[in-house]
């Protein structure tokens, strides 16, 4: 019964979010009819794909009551190393580049996972530290230089610009990631156990769930996705820089929060996540269209996040109060 009510609540929340997205789109469309055209929507989804991929990993981490601030740096590092490799060996296949980036990311994620799960370092401290180490390493491996478009092979750039089945590769990869994540989070034992660890760590530990291993896994997967996203990012913008994706972790966390992933762990669904990502994508895409200065973007995003977090709390308080009242009678 309780579980069903929870799902109902989540559905209501997502319905609200969907309505908001529709209202926002209608508003933007009224101001600038370019918004709802095929070409603009294509670019919207292509631009949002990387954010969506990262949001899946961040959701796993948030479900375990953690947070990962290092992913911007991981994106930059994985992107930088893979593009340096491509610059040195132009014949390398794009699939290998993707694999390389993913492995680098998984390695960095594993270090964080080890620190958090094995050594009980607070996630915020561990990832803040790693963020700077990895960012520093990115500058060091590149010697402060950029890897530019002409140094990358066409195959490498095609990772982001090419099409499969009429869809942009980035979107295809994002769909694949979501399909895998959907199966993993809802239909495997490990996936369900990650929720269990996040919603009640003590109960999970008592029922014999290997908490440390699962927390480790969440960070390792986050790292792997960040590494993958790094290669995609570099291929998309056709340039790898030391300050690539600086501060991007904030956007990813914002997308998760908007999508209803709870910071206190245990709660988060992919359907909500998609809506949250799309909403953030629309904000990024539409603000320039309706002549809002790009300098407003950060402030508006911050306010949106805070509003989402506070609304979540209010709704939760309200339902708790109602539940109590019902019990009193």
């Amino acid at each position: 019964m309780a579980a069903r009510k929870f799902v109902l609540n989540e559905n209501l929340r997502e319905l609200g979010l969907l309505m908001f997205i529709i209202a926002l789109s209608a508003g933007v469309q009224a101001r600038n009819p370019v918004f709802l055209t095929v070409s603009n929507l294509t670019s919207l989804f292509t631009n949002t794909a990387i954010l969506a991929i990262l949001a899946v990993g961040m959701t796993l981490v948030l479900i375990t009551r953690g947070i990962d601030l290092s992913i911007g740096a991981t994106i930059a590092f994985a992107g930088m190393v893979s593009s340096l490799t491509v610059a040195a060996y132009p014949t390398i296949s794009p699939a290998l580049s993707l694999l390389q980036g993913t492995l680098i990311g998984a390695f960095i994620g594993s270090i964080i996972g080890l620190l958090v799960a094995r050594f009980n370092v607070l996630p915020i401290i561990a990832t803040l530290g790693l963020m700077n180490i990895v960012r520093g390493l990115t500058f060091m491996v590149s010697g402060g230089k950029w890897v530019s478009s002409y140094q990358m092979s066409t195959g490498f750039k095609a990772i982001a610009t090419g099409k499969t089945l009429g869809l942009n590769n980035l979107v295809v990869i994002a769909i694949l990631v979501y399909a895998l994540a959907w199966y993993f989070m809802n239909h495997t034992r490990t996936g369900r156990r990650i929720y269990a660890v996040g919603s009640n760590p003590e109960a999970a530990a008592i029922s014999g769930i290997p908490k440390k291993r699962l927390v480790f896994l969440a960070y390792a997967l986050m790292g792997a996705l960040a590494g993958l996203a790094g290669v995609l990012w570099v291929a998309k913008f056709a340039s790898a820089q030391g300050d690539t994706a600086m501060g991007y972790e904030l956007q990813v966390i914002a997308a998760c929060i908007l999508g209803g992933v709870s910071i206190s762990g245990g709660v988060g669904r992919l359907s909500g996540l998609i809506l949250g990502t799309v909403l953030l994508g629309i904000l990024n895409n539409a603000l320039p269209l309706i002549n809002v200065s790009p300098f407003w973007q950060m402030g508006i995003q911050g306010i949106t996040v805070l509003a989402a977090v506070l609304t979540n709390v209010m709704v939760k308080r309200n339902t708790d109060r109602n539940a109590l009242r019902r019990r009193a009678i």
Binding site: L122, I125, L137, W296, G299, G302, R317
Partner: protein, 333 residues
């Protein structure tokens, strides 16, 4: 977690050589000396009095945030919006001065803005207890810097009056003015933390907030005040930083939160709350400061400094855990 935090209650104890020599601060003193030994090998001109007097003014501006951040971390919380508060208050000061406000008023405005920003953090954290301080300060971090960008875009603003540079470059009693202010703040914050009821309450709340509430301590007020003071000190940092740089832009003080938190944690303040002494972070400020200076002497680039600070942060957290394990073991014997 109570057995994990190594709480020590201040009752007069017999002097114990092990207790005395196994203090975290001695390790910091050793590292501090080590940094100087390495630095003096790097440059033959390093070891003279003037280095020690004038070098600190290059890194002390952010150290003003270390004191309140120590309070925040002793509470078991964290504030990652401090860098953004510095940027926001500096930008508002510069813009309002260039719009015709007299400089002293602009400086007051800077402090007021920073304090307000801290109060907003404190308000949100105390009114919405379901939310962790991480997520609240994360979102205000975006908002504060976002407002700074809205105000100034990608411009810089400056052209301050001549006398304003005194804050960053001037000297008082032969010491740089920043150093004088720093010593003053260190004494004030040390006294507040270790000698007042407020300070004891902060420690108490870090160890067990619920017990404190039930013993009649106004925990909300203390949390609110701590975050407000953090904002105020970030404003002070903005004053000194802007004076030293001569102008400001919305992207100043990026990453300050990391450096400040690293200093506090390296100083032996436990991230789980309730443990720490003022001497530790003060030593850590100078260790990281002189380390950065030495790496500059050795022509090591800024990115490497980032790596070192990140490593220091993580290693000191790990070392703290080992230390508590040893203490627990020796207590059991």
């Amino acid at each position: 977690m109570a057995d994990d935090t190594g709480i020590r209650i201040d009752i007069r104890k017999r002097w114990n050589w092990r207790e005395f020599f196994f203090q975290w601060e001695w390790l910091l003193v050793l590292i501090f000396l080590g940094v100087h030994v390495v630095n003096s090998f790097l440059s033959p001109y390093y070891l003279n009095l003037d280095t020690f007097i004038s070098t600190p003014s290059t890194f002390l501006d952010k150290s003003f945030i270390v004191f309140p951040m120590m309070f925040v971390i002793v509470l078991g919380m964290i504030d990652i919006s401090v860098g953004s508060i510095v940027a926001l208050s500096a930008v508002i000061m510069a813009v309002s001065f260039n719009a015709g406000l007299p400089m002293p008023a602009a400086m007051l405005l800077c402090l007021a803005v920073a304090t307000t920003a801290g109060m907003i953090n404190g308000f949100l954290i105390t009114k919405f207890k379901e939310l962790s301080s991480v997520i609240v300060t994360l979102s205000t971090m975006i908002i504060y810097r976002g407002i700074a960008y809205i105000i100034l875009g990608d411009q810089a603003s400056g052209r301050f009056p001549e006398w304003y540079s005194f804050l960053g470059w001037g000297r008082l009693f032969g010491l740089p003015f920043v150093v004088v202010c720093f010593i003053l703040c260190a004494v004030i914050f040390g006294l507040i933390l270790h000698k007042t009821r407020f300070g004891r309450s902060v420690f108490g709340m870090g160890n067990n907030g619920l017990t404190c509430r039930y013993s009649g301590i106004n925990t909300d007020r203390i949390t609110f005040l701590v975050f407000m003071i953090t904002g105020f000190m970030a404003g002070l940092t903005a004053l000194f930083l802007t004076s030293r740089m001569g102008s400001t832009r919305p992207n100043v003080a990026q990453g300050y939160e990391l450096e400040v938190i690293a200093m506090v944690v390296l100083g032996g303040v436990s991230t789980t709350g309730g443990v720490g002494r003022i001497a530790g972070p003060i030593l850590a400020i100078f260790i990281i400061g002189f380390l950065g200076y030495g790496m500059g002497l050795a022509n090591i680039q800024a990115p490497a400094v980032l790596v070192v600070i990140g490593l220091l942060l993580i290693l000191s957290v790990l070392a703290m855990r080992v230390r508590f394990k040893i203490r627990k073991k020796s207590a059991a014997v």
